[in-house]
């Protein structure tokens, strides 16, 4: 267990993680002082939150917005990524990749002018924030396509468009799920920020801002636990969907 590259069974790994988590929680429980809430208090707050309609409603608002943003982002990413194999459009794709260095905060006013309501503003900011990261990941998949995949197409007599369809559109479809899975955290992180821009529709970000405003750290951490759990759920669901839709990824 303490040797490099040692293989351990799933059961032992489970026990090890449980002990580590328990140790951290116990240390936290007995060392927390002042404003920092203890794990048990957070647990109680979480229990209370879970029984309220408030949390469910806000989670649904955030989830809907995230899923919408993910869908649009994937479509835009695929558009730019597929075009990137055509030399004329490559600079556009590369520019999109570089856009990840722009901060959303500096663009809020421009987006406010370009959109008609708060909902559109949040969605467009999220999409603008996510697309450069998705495109970066997908372009790296395209750049790293083994030469043999394209050469096999050539030897089979495929034309260039047919090769694009086979190797990139069909062959890398599973990677889209993997990229969404890997970058989901970015979307989840941004949502709390953009929801603060238009609070009338609610959302988990709005809840967080409200609790933060009143220094209600117990509920803030309870909400963080909810966000963490939802992230893990999405990670699992996207992984499972990838395996189900693309069985060859299992081997």
């Amino acid at each position: 267990m303490f040797k490099p590259f040692e293989n351990i069974s799933k059961r032992n790994a489970g026990i090890m993680i449980a002990i580590q988590a328990l140790t951290v929680l116990l240390c936290w429980q007995f060392s927390a002082k002042g404003l920092i809430p203890q794990p048990l208090t957070i647990g109680e707050a979480l229990g209370h939150l879970l029984t309220t309609k408030l949390l469910l409603d806000n989670i649904l608002v955030s989830l809907l917005l995230t899923l919408k943003a993910l869908l649009y982002s994937v479509l835009i990413t695929l558009f730019f990524a597929y075009l990137s194999v055509i030399p004329f459009f490559r600079p556009v794709a590369q520019f999109v990749v570089k856009c990840r260095y722009l901060t959303l905060t500096g663009l809020i006013f421009i987006f406010t002018l370009l959109t008609t309501d708060g909902s559109q503003l949040k969605l467009s900011l999220l999409v603008f924030g996510i697309v450069p990261f998705f495109t970066t990941s997908f372009l790296s998949v395209i750049v790293n396509i083994p030469r043999q995949e394209l050469e096999l197409c050539q030897t089979l007599g495929y034309g260039r468009w047919q090769s694009l369809y086979e190797v990139i559109i069909v062959g890398k479809a599973d990677q889209v799920f993997e990229i969404v899975r890997q970058n989901f955290a970015i979307a989840w992180m941004m949502i709390t920020m953009v929801e603060g821009l238009s609070m009338s529709e609610g959302g988990i970000g709005v809840l967080l801002i409200k609790y933060n405003k009143y220094n209600d750290l117990t509920n803030v951490l309870a909400l963080q636990l909810v966000i963490f759990g939802l992230g893990l759920c999405f990670d699992y669901i996207l992984g499972a969907m990838r395996k189900w839709l693309f069985p060859y990824t299992r081997f």
């Binding site: 083994p146 050469e151 050539q154 030897t155 089979l156 007599g157 062959g171 060859y248 081997f251």
Partner: protein, 282 residues
Amino acid sequence: MTSYTKEEVLLQARYLNLAFDGKWVLRNINFCIRDIVRPGIQQGQVVSLIGRSGIGKTQLFRILSGLQRPDSGTVEISQKPVVAPSAGEAGAVIAGSMRAVQAGDMGVIFQNYYQFKWRTVHQSLRLAARQNKSLWGVEEDAIKHYLDRFDLQDVLHLYPQQLSGGQQQRVSIIQQLLKGSDFLLLDEPFSGLDVCVLDKVVELLLQVSLSDERKTLIIVSHDIATAVAISDTVFILAKENGQAGSTIVKEIDLIERGLAWEKNVREQKAFADTIGEIKACL
């Protein structure tokens, strides 16, 4: 000796040169593959390009397959079946029947039998069959025919990652056969195979070569004994008199030596002599 004639030129490589970073890899490569005709027998050609590791075999393989352009020189293939010349004209190149090779003209079996990992065997074979106009409408029958012949019925719905090396090799061969090319280029088909599998592969390739009069197998290998045992012609790729870049230093006609199309060829003295002769050239 079995009677035969060498007739139409099927492939002609002329003055091929290739350099990387100013260093010659291939220099002045010239060779020609002709249709071997045996009375009463449907007989394709099996040609081996033998050379030591790192001599440039794979580069020549890529040039022959049309995947890489040489710095100079041409590879031409017979464009379509032409009326065979009479015996008196045997060996004459028919003007206008040759054209430069392009990617897709040759069936190519890569060393690691690469397949699309997202396609099942059936999907891969179907895609290949669709590329062959003569199989339109009868793709499934053709796939079944080859799967039966190559003993692969059980792997139809598996992915390449689920197949053994031998199965992957056979699927690659079927895929390229379904595509319908007269030429089949194989890069090191014998490497890493155990003795039992090796015999099967040799038998399989011979089977393929007999499937069509114009079917031409070009095997690039450093396994001298196996290549000689299976081939009718051997070209030796080596460096010449200390000159930079590899070239074809010798062509050995194994038919003339009675070493082609024989079952127990390895037991013949001429076989051992030929192996020694090739080794001396490398």
